[in-house]
Amino acid sequence: MTVENLSLHYLTRRGAVRAVDDVSFQLTRGETLGLVGESGCGKTSLATALLAMPSPPGRIVSGRILVEGTDILTLPEPALRSRIRWEKISMVFQGAMNSLTPVYTVGRQMRETLQRHRPASRAEAESLIERYVRLVGLPPEVVHRYPHELSGGMKQRVVIAAALFLEPRIVVMDEPTTALDVIVQAQILNTIKELKTALDLSLIFITHDLATEAEVADRILVMYAGRVVETAANEHVFGGEACHPYTAMLLAATPRLHRRASGLAFIPGTPPDLLDPPKGCRFRARCPFAFARCGEEPPLREVSPGHEVACWRFE
């Protein structure tokens, strides 16, 4: 998947909120790309754009999303529905585990989703569902259960199974473990890694928590105020080579259990208003290193192979 100059704006009465602003990146086959940033930096908006389904009043105003050579943004809605969404790219939405219908069994909900896409008999659908339910580490009996009978971790597994059974190549996961307890989170991260290898998936893993990203992402893409400020390999970011001041500060604000610090670091201030983003570098107001040059917008440039930073300090 290649994303070029993608912009998603929310057209409100007060003006356009530039939630995703000129974002470009590539997702290579078999890779897990970790998308991080504070809330409101455009992560979820970007995720919805990748499926060409921005939530209203969002509009994709520019850019291309190439999947196997086709720009999916040029496809009409019916083609997106029948050939792209869930077939090629699927998504585990943030909080999806709480959007299961309480009145139907898990199995019935999964079967209806499946049959909407595939002409399968009930028996065929059930055997396929059973296969995926087992793959995500659930006992096959869960298909007869109602959502309220399952724990949070089990519901999250159900949602992951439902994102996978149409055999997509790319799966976007938006905060899939955020609402879960640490032990369940660790179990699910293990499952996600196993599934990725078993099904040869490429993943976009979105979270605000760098510690989780360290566990799953091959490469990290850091977003701030709608823009990409740094992309680097996992080893670069967590091995002390993070360059952008924002990445470094996010990392410092991530608690480390075994390191006795005198206190936890934090990033003072709040992200800018995207209705009227500041000129120049958007992180300037919160950046301890800002200097005159930061009044101009820094481009994303390569500082070493596979490592790009948008900051004037690295020119």
Partner: protein, 335 residues
């Protein structure tokens, strides 16, 4: 537990809720009880922050609600400054509710959206009849806002909750809890809905206030990483019981109970090179329902070191494993 110096002393506290039964259970005369809190004892010393940690469903929030007198316990007692508050009523209860205040997890849900910040802060004053007249109350409100660093205060007084960020809202919630000058603060996941980048800022502010005022805090959370930094002492809960207590250093670096060990090993650390590895977790499955607490040691079905004794013998109680460090596991020495 902490001796006579404790401001809050909880002993053998328990609460259970009855759940809906099937017709068959009704006919068989079976009762189904959820033992949410199942006999816990702990103390919070003066000027101490006790971190009560555990996963969802372990009873930590219920414990906080019991201490706040929002729930009536089925057994045990809670004493505050030497007074048994489980039996307190009327004037005594009202006085207690002024001396102990709560900060809730969700700063969006715990504030009336139609109240301006100044009204949010004025409400406890009028309920408890604090401050004579408008001017004195206004002074108290401004002082409370300054204390939580919402400055200049004039900029925040007339805002509605929706005009504040999550962090600012939690500062207002803290100011609301402080305005009555309480001695005990019960903070239930006060920062878990706040962005990681500002979480530490809020906790640092709370700690500063705590040190300045000599407050005691019962800090309830699922997040060991922040609890380690914030609390003076930790108590780990599992399925309605406290399974280990000790200093943050002991709990994190020398955990004795197998559950605490599992909890700590599951915390993700931002270190490189873990992408390809499947993490070995010394625990399997999920927390069982509090309606069906396993016999013997309640952790045995998930414990990697459980023996026949753990399944059959009476439940282990907290025993000292080091100075100021106790665990409820009969095999802590061997494992």
């Amino acid at each position: 537990m902490t001796g006579g110096g404790a401001l809050l002393a909880v002993s053998d506290l328990a609460v259970s809720f009855s759940v809906r039964r099937s017709l068959r259970q009704v006919l068989a005369g079976q009762r189904s009880l959820v033992r949410a809190v199942d006999g816990i004892s702990f103390g919070v010393g003066r000027q101490e922050i006790l971190g009560l940690i555990g996963e969802s469903g372990c009873g930590k929030t219920t414990t906080g609600r019991l201490v706040m007198k929002l729930l009536r316990p089925s057994a045990g007692s809670i004493s505050f400054d030497g007074m048994d508050i489980t039996r307190a009523s009327g004037m005594e209860a009202a006085r207690y509710r002024r001396r102990a205040q709560m900060i809730f997890q969700d700063p969006y849900a715990s504030m009336n959206p139609r109240f301006r910040v100044r009204d949010v802060l004025a409400e406890p004053l009028s309920i408890h009849r604090v401050g004579a007249g408008r001017r004195e109350r206004a002074g108290l409100i401004e002082k409370a806002l300054a204390e939580v660093k919402l400055e200049p205060v004039e900029e925040y007084l007339d805002r509605f909750p929706h005009m504040l960020s999550g962090g600012q809202r939690q500062r207002v919630a803290t100011a609301r809890a402080l305005i009555l000058s309480p001695e005990l603060l019960i903070a239930d996941e006060p920062v878990s809905m706040i962005d990681l980048s500002t979480r530490a800022e809020i906790l640092a502010m709370m700690k500063e206030v705590q040190r300045a005022r000599g407050l005691s805090i019962l800090y309830i959370t699922h997040d060991i990483s922040t609890a380690r930094f914030f609390a003076d002492r930790l108590a780990v809960m599992y399925l309605g019981r406290i399974v280990e207590t000790g200093s943050p250093e002991d709990i994190v670096e020398r955990p004795a109970h197998p559950y605490t060990r599992a909890l700590i090993s599951a915390v993700p650390e931002p270190e490189p090179g873990r992408v390809k590895t499947i993490r070995a977790l010394p625990i399997s499955g999920e927390v069982p329902s509090a309606a069906r607490i396993p016999p013997g040691c309640r952790f045995h079905p998930r414990c990697p070191s459980a023996t026949e004794h753990c399944r059959r013998d009476p439940e282990p109680v907290l025993e000292d494993v080091g100075p100021g460090h106790a665990a409820a596991c009969r095999r802590w020495k061997e494992i």
